[in-house]
Symmetry: C2
Subunit: 197 residues, 2 copies
């Protein structure tokens, strides 16, 4: 069976944790929806009830909230081979507080709530896949939540560059500031300082 590139990417991602038969692969792919978002377009906005969980096959998106003063706080950048969405809204059907916006023309595969639930009935192995996926995300978010509280902004920037060297060059300094949790002005100072070192 010959698969298109985006399908190869998602099947390889899943093959890290579970093995699927040809039939299961085809069944799984049939549950996905292809989605394209142009640069600057919104995949979702605060107030929406999330319909999908997403896997990115091409491009880059930012996930963020706006605080009372309208200042954006970026929760993650999602590029090829990343999963994203608002799991809280997806699970509870409550309106989301997040915006997801493309910073480049992007392509995604989405799984709807109905299909997500169906998936576990049809191919119970996916419980294992998501168990391991969430377990790993959890490990990295636990670390991030500690670092957000205990490191200085400069240390967080150095960590980010080390951990995501490929993402740094694809995003604006302003968005990086929104992720690190500081103003764009202070981000500018940190970068010029770190580059001077």
């Amino acid at each position: 069976m010959i698969y298109k590139e985006s399908h190869i990417l998602i099947l390889n991602n899943i093959a890290r944790f579970i093995d699927l038969t040809e039939l299961e692969k085809q069944k799984y792919l049939s549950l996905l929806t292809e989605i394209k978002v142009k640069k600057k377009a919104y995949l979702m906005q605060a107030g929406d009830v999330t319909k999908y969980e997403y896997f990115i096959t091409k491009g880059c998106l930012k996930v963020y909230t706006l605080d009372e003063d309208g200042v954006p706080h970026i929760s993650m950048f999602a590029v090829e081979d990343y999963w994203t969405g608002d799991m809280a809204s997806f699970m509870t059907k409550q309106p989301s507080r997040y915006f997801i916006r493309a910073t480049e023309d992007s392509e995604l595969l989405g799984i709807s709530r109905a299909n997500y639930n169906l998936l576990f009935q049809e191919i119970p192995k996916f419980e294992r896949f998501y168990r391991i996926l969430y377990q790993r995300s959890l490990i990295s978010y636990i670390r991030r939540s500690n670092h957000g509280i205990s490191l200085t902004a400069e240390e967080r920037y150095i960590e980010f560059k080390k951990k995501y060297p490929k993402i740094v060059n694809r995003i604006t300094q302003k968005d990086l500031a929104g992720y690190i949790g500081i103003t764009p002005e202070f981000m500018s100072k940190i970068i010029s300082k770190v580059n001077r070192m």
Copy 2:
């Protein structure tokens, strides 16, 4: 079948997400180890390779790292009906960077790495249990990692009190400061300010 109190607690915790037969309950309980820790004693220390994941049936523990200056950064407080441990070390067998220390005489149920893996073979439903458990933890850590970066210390304190009203009264101000990510001196100021309001 009559179960002891600690077993009822853990079985009820699991029953939130999956249903077990009597036989499965007994099989599951047989995989657990009972552990007691006196107040101030360590359940584990940095450098150890974690042997267990824990469920607390009685007491209170703090999970923390020490930074280069020896300042503690508290990652979570675990009380009755909470799960804790160092999942990164548990999964990878790498030495942990965490300390877990009892702040009250405590009782726990531990599952060893071998039994954790066995569990999924013997009762595959547990993949689902852990999938949902990790999914929910993930949602709350994503929120916490954003708040750590975007809220002021005072806002984080107010959130903590609202979210964990029962824990606030069981821990010292110093430990709370280590969780909020500020010095004990500044914690003291915030508390007296918030109480005055």
